[in-house]
């Protein structure tokens, strides 16, 4: 069985696993709504509010979702609970932006330029390095020539950690060791990717809190030097968000985007009970797609984000 199929199988199991306990019966309750309504009753709205808030969607986005649903229902009416559910899902999915063809999430897809340079950023401990290891493995399995860049030269043993992932995924790594200038490592990686004909280079960076200006300036510099080697590099800047993070993820996303223009998101640690609902607001506000989700610590525990599957898992019945 190919790895994609394996993921396909794991997908349902893993994403929906954590949801089971807390959510059972909630849609059942919503189902109490009666046919032919053009308003949603207060009880349903309360349930909805609880589901969304406890999934970390946040008050503001929850209000937005509820408003959208009330508008839709006022227009379309709904006949039964499954129709209401459909409307609900459609409205939430609409807030989650779609991936664009020049930044494909599919591992086999062609990149518009070669090498395709991807910079991975985020606050401390969200899963940047692990995500790079998983992506490297999946791109390589899809036949791509991959290269890694160890531009986290700050955290203790960060280079060693990425090196182990490069061995696991069996792809080359560019590094200058601990305490080297991260921008120089980034520059080197992009140069090497170009000269050795790599399809894609993934560059790891040190975790940094978004309110530390000097560290954010450093990140902007890392990004800047890449463009000196390959036009328009990096082609993607991916922000990694931890599913257990609450409303602060919005601040993170805004700050990172103001320094390095985020183009996509990864939502990690969905193998627990956290839902990571803040990505709905972030995706909508920044107009960037969620590209991947992390569902474990093993190398194959990464999946292409599926909006429908994700929204279903928020409301999953079983």
């Amino acid at each position: 069985m190919g790895f994609l199929e394996k993921i396909g199988l794991k997908k349902k199991e893993k994403v929906e696993k954590g949801v089971e306990k807390s959510r059972s019966g909630i849609m059942g309750k919503i189902g109490k709504a009666i046919a032919g309504k053009d308003t949603v009753d207060a009880e349903v709205l309360d349930e909805l509010e609880e589901i969304l808030i406890t999934s970390d969607v946040g008050v503001q986005t929850t209000i937005e979702i509820i408003n959208r649903i009330e508008d839709r229902v006022a227009q379309d009416k709904y006949l039964n609970s499954s129709e209401l559910q459909r409307i609900l899902r459609e409205e939430i999915i609409a807030l989650l932006k779609e991936t664009k063809s020049d930044k494909p999430a599919d591992f086999k897809a062609q990149f518009p330029t070669k090498p395709h340079i991807v910079l991975i950023v985020g606050v401390n401990g969200v899963g940047k390095t692990t995500t790079i290891g998983k992506l490297a493995y999946l791109y390589k399995a899809a036949g791509k020539k991959v290269m890694l860049g160890a531009a986290d030269t700050f955290r203790a043993a960060a280079v060693d950690q990425l090196k182990i992932w490069s061995e696991r995924a069996d792809v080359p790594i560019i590094q200058q060791g601990q305490d080297a200038d991260p921008a120089a490592v980034a520059f080197d990686t992009v140069s090497a990717a170009k000269s050795r004909g790599a399809d894609i280079a993934l560059i790891d960076t040190a975790g940094r809190l978004h309110n530390k200006k000097s560290l954010m300036d450093e990140l902007a510099k890392i990004k800047r030097v890449m463009g000196k080697v390959v036009d328009d590099a990096p082609h993607e800047v991916i922000l990694v968000l931890d599913a257990s993070t609450g409303q602060n993820a919005m601040q993170q996303a805004k700050a990172f985007t103001s320094f390095v223009d985020i183009t996509g998101l990864v939502l990690t640690k969905l193998d627990g009970t956290a839902k990571g609902g803040i990505v709905i607001g972030v995706s909508n506000e920044l107009e960037v797609p969620v590209k991947y989700i992390g569902v474990g610590e093993e190398i194959e525990d990464l999946q292409v984000f599926d909006r429908e599957l994700y929204v279903n898992s928020l409301f999953s019945d079983d």
């Binding site: 401990g125 950690q161 200006k213 993070t245 627990g272």
Partner: protein
């Protein structure tokens, strides 16, 4: 933009005006606002409900005080309740009757356990004269052992690690090692794990059983959202920890998870971690945490943040200058630079109680100090050191050079002189307080806002 709870409540409590007593009816909107503030701060949904119910009970029947504004009255009730929830006693970590004292550290992936373990080792070594050893019981994550070794080396603390992927054994042997080396403290760093991962939760329970720690600490990221209650509960059921450590509080999260956890497991928060450097560890202060969650502005952390950024010597020099009235535009320019290094201006202003209220209708534009800098940059060094020589010709030149109007230069000079006076009168506040007050004075009066 920050908007503190009390100003939000000011809107909500309009319904209280003219009422003699707080009642079920007139309090409804206020309670809703409080609840929203809590949810925005990541306090768990259920916890927020319970908490606001408490507030309601507590407030009900109270007289509406005419002396203070009702928003403040409510804020105080909410704040007091929260501080009380957190508990006033500061609880230290346990010490074994016969050494070694064993401390077990557990938590989710990426919560900051390893860094905290090293910080705790340094803290116990320096503050309590202890001789700790770190046990590397994260036998899974790539390079985890190297990471802890690197950190331990930097603080001259030994590490015990083994080749095999056997965390229980690593922990047990570390304790034996401590005994044979007569080291008095063992700090066991474990792998991050999901609370729903049966096998891994069994492992940490086994470690606990095997080494019988004197203190078990649960490490949690302060940015955690609604799920904090699930993980805190599950870990508590499995390892019955003694205390909680909140990490990454140097970020700008409101940290409502702290209240959620405290409510559902009733364990004290023993430490907070506030940076990547190994000395960034401090005790937990309930009042500061409550202020933070409620967005009330925290002068204490502002001053601390400032102290970190400011070189002590520089600060003393500055203090003298202010006293002797020789604070000039060059100093001012450097101050602006330092303030900018500390983070965003809106965040800083947000930390001053009342400041965001004063500024709430005015979005703080991070670039609003740029024209000030431009004006000062267009001056000659002599002019900066001796602003009195700025005659009309010079001011015209400066305005032209900085792309501003002469009126702007005049306003800046006027404000600068007022600020100098203000700074002298705020001498009790510490340097940054003066600085911020001074800048606040300037804000709104300058034409650039």
């Amino acid at each position: 933009m920050f908007e503190d709870l009390s100003s939000k409540l000011n809107h909500a409590v309009q319904s209280l005006k003219g009422e003699a007593k707080i009642s079920d009816v007139n309090i409804a909107e206020t309670v809703r606002e409080i609840r929203r503030a809590l949810l925005d701060a990541d306090v768990n949904y259920e916890v927020a409900k319970t908490f606001t119910n408490h507030i309601k009970e507590r407030a009900m029947g109270e007289d509406v005080l005419t002396a203070v504004n009702p928003g403040q009255q409510f804020t105080k009730i909410v704040y007091d309740e929260m501080v009380e929830m957190f508990g006033q006693e500061r609880e230290d970590i346990a010490v074994a009757h016969t050494p070694p004292t064993v401390i077990l550290i557990a938590g989710l992936q990426g919560s900051g356990k390893t860094t905290f373990a090293a910080k705790l080792a340094k803290y116990l070594k320096e503050e309590n004269n202890r001789n700790p050893i770190l046990a590397a019981a994260d036998v899974y994550r790539p390079a985890a052992i190297n990471q802890i070794k690197t950190l331990a080396d930097s603080i001259n603390v030994p590490v015990y690690s083994i080749e095999q992927k056997d965390a229980v054994r690593a922990a047990k042997e570390a304790v034996s090692m401590a005994k044979s080396l007569a080291l008095d403290t063992v700090i066991i760093d474990t792998a991050g794990r999901m609370h729903v991962d049966e096998a891994m939760m069994n492992e940490v329970a086994e470690i606990k059983e095997a080494v019988q720690p004197n203190e078990t600490l649960f490490v949690v990221d302060s940015m955690t959202g609604q799920d904090a209650v699930n993980t805190a509960k599950e870990f508590n059921e499995r390892i019955n920890y003694d205390g909680v450590v909140l990490t990454k509080l140097d970020g700008d999260t409101r940290g409502g998870a702290a209240l959620s956890i405290k409510t559902v497991v009733e364990k004290p928060i023993k430490f907070v971690s506030t940076g990547e450097k190994l000395d960034a560890l401090s005790p937990f202060y309930p009042d500061r945490m409550a202020q933070r969650i409620l967005g009330m502005g925290d002068v204490v952390s502002l001053v601390e943040k400032a102290q970190k950024e400011f070189d002590q010597e520089e600060a003393e020099k500055l203090q003298k200058k202010i006293k002797s009235d020789s604070f000039d535009l060059e100093d001012f320019r450097q101050q602006l630079q330092q303030v900018k290094n500390m983070g965003s201006i809106s965040d800083l202003v947000g930390m001053i109680p009342g400041a965001d209220k004063a500024l709430q209708d005015q979005e703080i534009d991070e670039d609003s100090f740029k024209p000030i800098e431009a004006i000062i940059n267009s001056m000659t060094p002599e002019e900066r050191h001796n602003p009195d020589i700025l005659n009309a010709t010079r001011r015209r030149r400066i305005a032209k050079g900085s792309g501003t109007k002469v009126q702007d230069v005049n306003d800046l000079m006027k404000q600068f002189n007022q600020m100098k006076k203000m700074m002298q009168s705020f001498s009790g506040m510490g340097k940054i307080g003066q600085m911020m007050q001074g800048m606040k004075g300037m804000k709104g009066k300058l034409p650039f806002n």
